[in-house]
């Protein structure tokens, strides 16, 4: 019985999907455009400056230049995904899809890199 009533509710309330189609205003698009342009300027400028390195342990050195460049790129990509691609205003399904996709991507890339960088290449 409960099943039928649940079905009835499902059929009678298309409001589940009837979320008002959100229209992002041009003002936000212009702000994001400016942020992306500023980000591009900063990343080009930062690439000419030697940001140094961090010797974590013998044989493990972290260079700051690529880290900063990738951090700026990730910030820009996040702005594009959230605002230009409307994920901020999207359904929970969209958010979950994008989130789990990025998570899977990071797991695959992270584990591949961890494998390659942690092997004693040529020393066995």
């Amino acid at each position: 019985m409960t099943e039928t009533s649940e079905n009835a509710i499902d059929h009678e309330s298309p409001e589940v999907h009837e979320r008002e189609h959100h229209i992002v205003s041009p003002r936000i698009y212009i702000m994001i455009l400016l942020a992306l342009l500023v980000g591009t300027a900063i990343t080009v400028w930062a690439s000419y400056v030697d940001l140094g390195e961090w010797r974590v342990a013998p044989g493990l050195v972290i260079f700051w230049n690529p880290i900063v460049a990738l951090a700026i790129a990730c910030t820009k990509a996040t702005l594009v995904v959230l605002f230009f691609m409307h994920v901020k205003y999207g359904t929970k399904l969209t958010k979950l899809t994008v989130g789990s996709g990025i998570f899977t991507f990071l797991v695959l890339v992270g584990m591949t890199l961890a494998d390659y960088f942690s092997r004693a290449w040529g020393r066995w």
Binding site: H11, P14, H17, E18, R19, H21, I23, V24, S25, P26, Y29, I30, I32, L33, L36, L37, T40, T43, V44, S47, Y48, V49, D50, L51, N65, P66, A69, L70, I72, A73, K76, A77, V80, V81, F83, F84, M85, H86, G90, T91, L93, T94, T97, V98, G101, I102, T104, F105, L108, V109, T112, L113, Y116, F117
Partner: protein
């Protein structure tokens, strides 16, 4: 036989069109249809993320292995041209976003204008990419039988290498610059192919938009093409620093 005839006659009475003509019959509401199509588009984009992700991972691993070769290789790229392309692509993403807004607001003229601007900027990007590729062909930096190591063995003979203050590489490391350019052409080439496909779809959309196809409240196609175009923009946002910038200082 007679059964099917009866059905054909009865059909118009069964179907009452209380929904817009662009809503498929198996969807309850237009919003549901739009959500479903959006979801499909995102799934497609995730396969694209994985595809480009493989290339990026290969790039990171080889860069770590053949570091000097990758530094010398990236010094052959022009930051002004790459930077200009980044600007073009970011602005085209903005005009595309404005195109989606125009479709949502049912402004036909603005939509056609935005799509035309997006296509022009995309073509501009491809034009500059052609100039860059042409330079690589001239200097024999395209991997293959005619690949030349001269810029890396004798940097003083090469303008770009001299400007970057490159030191001559030993022969075995110089050979690995070919790996850099293989990845450079694979990544920017795949990206350019996506741009070409995008420009072709834009041309199709401009024709359709002029006949008012996207300003009826049915914005799904424009919206999902926008997702594709922004995705291509994001790929370039990562390609530009990785290929052009991080070995510059």
């Amino acid at each position: 036989m007679s059964d099917s005839q009866v059905q054909v006659i009865a059909q118009p009475e069964v179907h009452t069109h209380e929904h817009p003509p662009y809503q498929r019959h198996h969807f309850e509401t237009y919003a549901q249809q739009n959500d479903a199509t959006n979801f499909a588009m995102w799934l497609f984009l995730l396969t694209e993320v994985m595809f480009f992700g493989g290339l990026f991972t290969a790039y990171l691993i080889y860069r770590n292995w053949f570091y000097q070769a990758f530094v010398a290789g990236s010094h052959q790229l022009s930051i002004p041209l790459g930077g200009l392309n980044t600007l073009l692509l970011i602005i085209s993403s903005f005009t595309m976003a404005m195109g989606v807004w125009s479709a949502e607001m049912r402004k036909k003229g603005a939509l056609v204008l935005c799509l035309c601007l997006t296509m022009t900027l995309g073509l501009g990007f491809l034009g500059i990419k052609t100039i860059e590729y042409g330079e690589k062909i001239e200097k024999h930096h395209v991997p293959g039988f005619h690949y030349s190591l001269q810029s890396f063995l004798d940097p003083s003979s090469d303008e770009a290498a001299k400007a970057a203050g490159d030191k001559p590489l030993p022969l075995d490391m110089a050979r690995h610059t070919e790996v850099y350019f293989s990845l450079y052409f694979a990544m920017t080439g795949m990206h350019a192919l996506h741009m070409i496909i995008g420009v072709a779809i834009l041309a199709f959309m401009i024709v359709r938009a002029q006949s008012g196809a996207y300003t009826t409240g049915h914005v799904t196609f424009v919206e999902n093409f926008g997702l594709y175009w922004h995705f291509v923009d994001i790929v370039w946002i990562f390609l530009f620093p990785l290929l052009y910038l991080i070995s510059r200082h």
